[in-house]
Amino acid sequence: MNAILQAHALSKRYGQRQALVDCTLELPPGHVVGLVGPNGAGKTTLLKIACGMLAPTTGRIEVLGEQPNGAAVQLARVGYVAQGTPTYASLSVADHLKFGAKMNPAWDAKLAQARIEQLGLNPKQKAGKLSGGQRAQLALTVAVAKRPELLILDEPVASLDPLARRDFLRHLMESVAEHDTSVILSSHLVSDLERVCDYLVVLVSSHVRLAGETDDLLAQHHRIVCTRRQESDLPVGLKVISAEHTDRQSTFVVRSESELPAGDWSAERLELEDLVLTYLEWPVDHGAGSAGTPMQPTGEAQ
């Protein structure tokens, strides 16, 4: 199967500022991909490049097998909901659907109508009078009724209250289940994504730090606690993501492609949120080539 998004050494610079650096990614189809990272990590830049709204400074990218260029044919295949789930305040719900139908050759009017009814939205209501949750649902409806192969959502739930958030994600997942759409959605909160994403990309300071299927990532990472020792004393094959030491104890978060070997330590799986936070807190590629370096007193002795 072909990747929905393939990026090779992709970079974007705004003047002096690097918004995205050397981003290489291959996202398989049929997934709900969560793009996580702190604010300013480059999430929006990557998503805008993916739907052809921004050109990369260097590097290559293909989305659904084509270079994003903003051409109508490709726009029809990719549904994009920008940050803040924009709608037109002075247009009614029905106007939004009419507009969508005009702009999109594959518009599914029946689907759009059914969703508006299901949501209990009044077609005559002006979008400006809708609640934040309703506006987000309207923007999703317009994007979904295009019947895109790929749906790109930038921080879709950031501004919603918890109930509206859950509602939005329920509808999104229902539509994914029904139409087999691939989805990329970004968030600065892992908790928003962990239920719905089965593929995760972690972006830190303009770099891709981690990418993979969520279940694999969870299975490969462990937190091990042992008597104080150096990273180099750990068995080979363990990639150290974080290391903290007290005067008698060491705590490592390690990644192992194969099953974690037994050792004189206690090992536990990490929750997705802890896993992501570890990568955010330890931004430098730790472990690789660091074997044999002296132990740094990274954690205060307690």
Binding site: G30, H31, V32, R166, L169, R170, H171, M173, E174, V176, A177, E178, S191, E194, R195, V196, C197, D198, D215, L218, S266, E268, R269, E271, L272
Partner: protein, 129 residues
């Protein structure tokens, strides 16, 4: 029809949580042979989880021989688990509870207890064969 719930904080992969909930429903007699499981779409529209998670859980149930998918119709339970429901085994559960209290008193922690339980379960299953 049963409802699923998924706890992101449980440390157990969501698809395994669904498998476990089906197993438990079978043990408790909430599900029996011939019952239809909710469709993937129904589950995700209610629980807001990834559709692949549900598909994966259903595949695992098929692999375990507990359910079978009929294309275009749905996934059905093919087997009832256990002849008596768990509630009829109250005394057994009390013994297990007493053992756990003993294990804790002996200084075993929860992961230790779980590991010992799992190991012993595996050993006894292997001897049965």
């Amino acid at each position: 029809m049963i409802d699923f719930h998924v706890d992101a904080r449980s440390g157990m992969a969501p698809y395994l949580q669904i498998v476990r909930q089906v197993r438990q429903a079978l043990l408790l007699g909430l599900l029996t042979e011939g019952d239809k499981l909710p469709t993937v779409k129904e589950v995700v529209a209610k629980v807001a989880i990834n559709p692949n998670t549900v598909s994966k859980a259903y595949r695992e149930l098929e692999h375990l021989g507990l359910a079978a998918g009929k294309p275009g119709v749905g996934t059905f339970i093919t087997q009832s688990l256990g002849h008596a429901s768990l509630t009829e085994h109250g005394p057994l559960q009390q013994e297990l509870r007493a053992w756990m209290d003993k294990a804790r008193a002996a200084g075993l922690t929860e992961p230790g207890i779980e590991a010992m339980f799992q190991n012993t379960l595996r050993e006894s299953a292997e001897e049965e064969k």
